[in-house]
Symmetry: C2
């Protein structure tokens, strides 16, 4: 094995991590699943089809942002659907909200869940909570007939290729919208503003067709392409920053490494080039 | 030459960039100066002692932040001192402010200036402006007897080791403070919140001893360690966000790739771990 795990984006640059050993490597029916132990502050790493999904050392930059931003704009989120997210990090964050009664994790690949439970317990730790219902199935089929069911839907998908491709279509977004209760909010990972500008454009074009309210928010993620990530915030009836759950703020902030109210509000202030890109799609 | 230029931080991970050729490589009296042509969207890269300083492709993430944040909190910045910053990117941004009458660039290493003028003209383009006075000398000596001279001082230094080491001391910061006019503001690059926590702690401890007002702001930089960077904002009499130069906002925003007022204000919202680190130093 080479000294470095490298992930180079089509932009010609990327991340290099000192690696120690591959702890797990198997081909599932959907993708290659690997857990690599790094010789770095990042600790263990989950990769799918040779793309880094999460690391023990910096996973909180992603998981706190995909979950608490939409959750804190909802008055009383009780039922939450997480699509993808088999590592469990998003579920762990959602469960921090005392209002939550039920979280459905719909992950197509059971091998991801099993590998993360075994090798990444600090990330997967919420998956055994009795409020969590795990569906190992295709979210495209799962969401099809759901009406008025979820307060929050979090699309914690892989990139728009391979098994995640169908999670970036107008039909899928429409079904997600229909699955929302009144006051419901969707957050979806939406790639890197640095190296995935075309993918962002395509995705927001579709989201804007489906959702009356569609905004983007961003935050740094050290190990993701470009070190800078975007998420889509979508809703039928709740503008971002129009309501904030001050009653839950203290408990959530206390349990987080980055999340706080000021940091939350600041996420929606976008750089010029991203504002322009989103206005033109 | 190997396929990748790699820069691995002490945290065990870092950046890898496809490289084409070394265009310039010389040892100056202070450091090794190199310009590398990459096979990536980053274009050409300046390295000093094998550490990346700037790239054509992502330099604006750094230069817009070190300059416009302090400049826009000043009512009428006329005289500006840039310490280090031999690539010229910070000077280029400072010159966008119509109020500016004089910019002194104090860079210890003339070879950096010459190499950047030759190989990185889109970054160094401001250095020939007739408002710019270039001093190829040690900023530690230069600043010593300056009193009441600058509206803005920007410490655009290398890391706290090698030739940049003396730019991270209490004595130096005191001299910088004394060089400020009334209403003056200092911004200083202050390393990565992801991989340089100890360096940040040391630096802000000293800055807080010297400056009555000391805050941190952050923004992503794709090619810097951790993809996420911090700058110190220091002043004797101007709190951050207490004044904003709305009269200059349109011209500056129009000329920038990321800078705008909302993005500016959002920079001071820090993640919990950085807030705690700064409160405890």
């Amino acid at each position: 094995m080479s000294e470095f795990y490298k992930e180079i984006t089509p932009a010609g640059f990327g991340i290099a991590i000192k690696q120690k050993q591959v702890l797990f490597s198997k081909q599932s029916p959907f993708q290659k699943v690997e857990i690599i132990d790094s010789d770095s502050e990042l600790g263990k790493i989950l990769t799918l089809d040779d793309l880094m999904m999460t690391t023990e050392g910096d996973e909180f930059y992603y998981h706190e942002m995909i979950s608490h931003i939409p959750m804190m704009h909802h008055k009383n989120p009780e039922t939450v659907l997480v699509i993808g997210g088999g590592d469990g990090g998003t579920v762990r964050e959602v469960l921090k909200h005392s209002s939550v009664k039920k979280v459905v994790l719909c992950e197509i690949d059971g091998m991801v869940i099993d590998a993360c439970k075994q090798y990444l317990p600090t990330i997967a730790c919420g998956l055994d909570d009795n409020r969590v219902e795990i569906k190992v199935e295709d979210a495209i089929a799962y969401i099809k007939d759901k009406k008025d069911e979820f307060d929050i839907v979090l699309i914690d998908s892989t990139d728009p290729m391979g098994p995640g491709e169908g999670l970036f279509t107008e039909e899928f977004y429409t079904n997600v919208k229909n699955s929302l209760k009144k006051g419901g909010i969707v957050a979806a990972q939406s790639e890197s503003p640095v190296v995935n500008k075309n993918e962002i454009k395509k995705m927001y074009k579709l989201l804007k067709k489906v959702f009356p309210i569609c905004a983007a928010y961003t935050s740094p993620i050290p190990t993701y392409p470009g070190g800078y990530w975007a998420w889509a915030y979508c809703s039928v009836d709740v503008e971002p920053l129009s309501y904030y759950a001050d009653n839950r703020a203290a408990e959530i902030t206390k349990s987080c490494k980055i999340y706080n109210k000021e940091y939350h509000y600041a996420r929606f202030a976008l750089p010029n080039y991203l504002k322009e890109l989103l206005e033109n799609c």
